[in-house]
């Protein structure tokens, strides 16, 4: 195991091993597990086990076959030897007694011996190719000749000729030659069986010992895999914990910074306001102009801080939502009316096209107003003439709200990054307040809290339509976003 911990070089091997086993290891994350070695340790023994298993199986069947053949051959050869003896005895008895009965017996044994010989040759054809087999065969045929001739002689009454044939020296020699050949073949077959058994034994020993070596390796490899898995899990936990901590820290940092910014911002704003609204004495037009732009930017800064905090809260799911059944049309009307003076001061008309049969849905009133204000503000920012419309409709199991403008529209490339945080589309209409680049990202998050959706259709140069929809059945989302 590759666990090097340089800070404590004197630690015992046991603690080192335990340490490397995982749970309390501090520098786990930086360490690479020897995956390649582990894979080899896994795959190799498994392959060895497979091949060796197959070998043992095969050897077992070989052994069965060898054994069967051996037994069968022994049986056949002892039968052949017996039948040979019976043939010789029958031929000799026929000659000695001149009794036809013995000739019949001889002719009865004859096919039996031929059948046994053929069976033996079929079982061990290799015995046929030996020199001994050839010699033996010749002897056998000659013996057969002598025997049949003698039997013929008995029938024709020439008993002395017959006797000379089967009791003569040639017959005995041939007989001896034949039985010697038989012994040699049996020996050859015996040796062959032994060598087969020997090689089977060797194969078995080889296979079993290979498996005996492979098995512990495999076990160790599996242990390694288990360790790797447990290490992976603990690593994951650690990483997740770290990520959570980072997120918490990021949140804490951002909210701290934002809060710390609020106090000086409040001071700046209040001091500017008191001069600007002439509570502290009169101003000339230039002074008022310059202070106005200071005020605009302070307002922008405080909007930015609020947006950052909002976005942060949404991102870390720390924002509370108060879901209540309400009339969306009423909310739209209220929001539009509050914006009407600003919109109409810019040479743009606003109109509403609201579905009177719009069903009530559950939503957080303040947050949805925030979404509507955002969309209306965007519409104002990018529209120099024409009209802005707000439309509400029921669409299947949702209610759908659209804010349409006749502004400059959005390029296709820009649409993709529209809902991303901190992205802004350049605005050629001068004099409009710059945004934070968070507005739509916040809107999208708010909608996702409501299990709703937000999207945009736009034609560059002709205007845009921003849509959002809220589902009718929001029972599941009633408690969404609890602290």
């Amino acid at each position: 195991m590759v666990n090097t911990k340089k800070t404590r070089p004197d630690e015992s091997t046991q603690t080192h091993f335990l340490f490397s086993l995982g749970a309390s290891s501090r520098d786990l994350l930086g360490k690479r597990f020897p995956v390649k070695i582990l894979m080899v340790a896994l795959v190799m023994p498994m392959a060895i086990m497979g091949v060796m298993g197959w070998l043992v199986w095969k050897t077992y069947w070989d052994f069965q076959e060898t054994q069967f053949r051996d037994v069968r051959l022994r049986e056949l050869y002892s039968r052949i030897i017996y039948l040979d003896e019976m043939l010789t005895t029958s031929a000799r008895m026929a000659v000695a007694t001149g009794n036809v009965h013995w000739e019949k017996r001889y002719l009865g044994f004859m096919p039996q011996r031929e059948a046994a010989t053929i069976a033996a040759l079929e079982l061990a054809p290799e015995a046929l190719s030996t020199k001994e087999a050839a010699t033996m065969n010749t002897a056998k045929r000659r013996l057969l000749d002598l025997e049949t001739s003698s039997l013929d002689a008995v029938q024709s009454g020439r008993l002395d000729v017959a006797r000379a044939l089967v009791f003569g020296q040639e017959y005995d020699e041939l007989k001896k030659l034949y039985s010697e050949g038989m012994d040699v073949i049996l020996n050859i077959l015996q040796r062959r069986t032994e060598s087969a058994l020997h090689s089977q034994r060797r194969r078995t020993i080889f296979a079993v010992s290979s498996m005996a070596i492979a098995l512990p390796i495999l076990l160790f490899a599996w242990l390694g895999v288990l360790r790797m898995v447990s290490r992976y899990i603990s690593d994951r936990k650690k990483v997740e914990e770290q990520m959570r901590e980072t997120m918490d820290l990021k949140y804490a940092f951002t909210s701290m910074v934002s809060h710390e910014l609020r106090t000086p911002l409040a001071a700046i704003k209040e001091n500017i306001d008191i001069v600007l609204d002439q509570t502290a004495g009169e101003l000339n037009n230039d002074q008022q102009d310059f202070l106005s732009s200071a005020k605009t930017n302070v307002d922008r800064l405080s909007r930015l801080i609020n947006d950052v905090l909002d976005y942060q809260k949404l991102e870390t799911r720390q924002m509370n939502f108060r879901m209540e059944e309400a009339d969306m049309n009423e909310v739209i009307q209220e929001t539009v009316e509050s914006m009407r003076p600003i919109i109409e001061s810019r040479n743009v008309t606003i109109q509403m096209d609201l579905d009177p049969r719009l069903p009530q849905v559950a939503f957080d009133r303040d947050r949805i107003i925030q979404v509507l204000l955002n969309l209306l503000n965007n519409a104002i920012k990018f529209t120099s003439h024409g009209k802005i419309s707000v439309i509400s409709r029921r669409a299947g199991q949702d209610i759908q709200i659209a804010v349409r403008d006749t502004g400059i529209g959005i390029r296709k490339d820009d649409i993709e990054k529209l809902f991303r945080s901190f992205s802004q589309v350049s605005n050629p209409i001068s004099g409009s307040a710059k945004g934070t680049g968070l507005g739509l990202a916040i809107c999208k998050e708010i909608l996702s809290y409501h299990h709703g959706e937000m999207w945009v259709e736009s034609e560059y140069g002709r205007g845009s339509i921003f849509y959002f929809k809220l589902p009718l059945s929001t029972t599941t989302s009633k408690k969404v976003g609890a602290l």
């Binding site: 809060h259 609020r262 001071a267 209040e270 509570t279």
Partner: protein, 122 residues
Amino acid sequence: MSKKILLVEDESDISRPLAFRLRKKGFEVFIAEDGEEALRLAFLEKPDLVILDLMLPKLPGEEVCKRIRADQTIGQVPIIMLTAKASEIDHIVGKTAGANMYMTKPFEANDLLKTIDNYLKK
């Protein structure tokens, strides 16, 4: 007789213009820069309204609020709480401590004046 407002705010850059504005409106304004002084002035001057910052030296705003509420003579005074912490938890803390209204910094001076008028009309 002009109404008395106790303004508790440790940032003089915020309290000064606000006090100026309120005095212009005809209120009598007392400024406290920490929690203890706030309590002292509250009991001494018995203001008609308190504008209270949440984060204060010596004694936190919610504690000041609680102690004012606990007193029999000045317990009913309207309290407007100001804070830079805009999170929901602070909102709840402000309410349980007994503030009537809660405003986040930076606030609109006009909104604050309207709120003050609302409470003092009653």
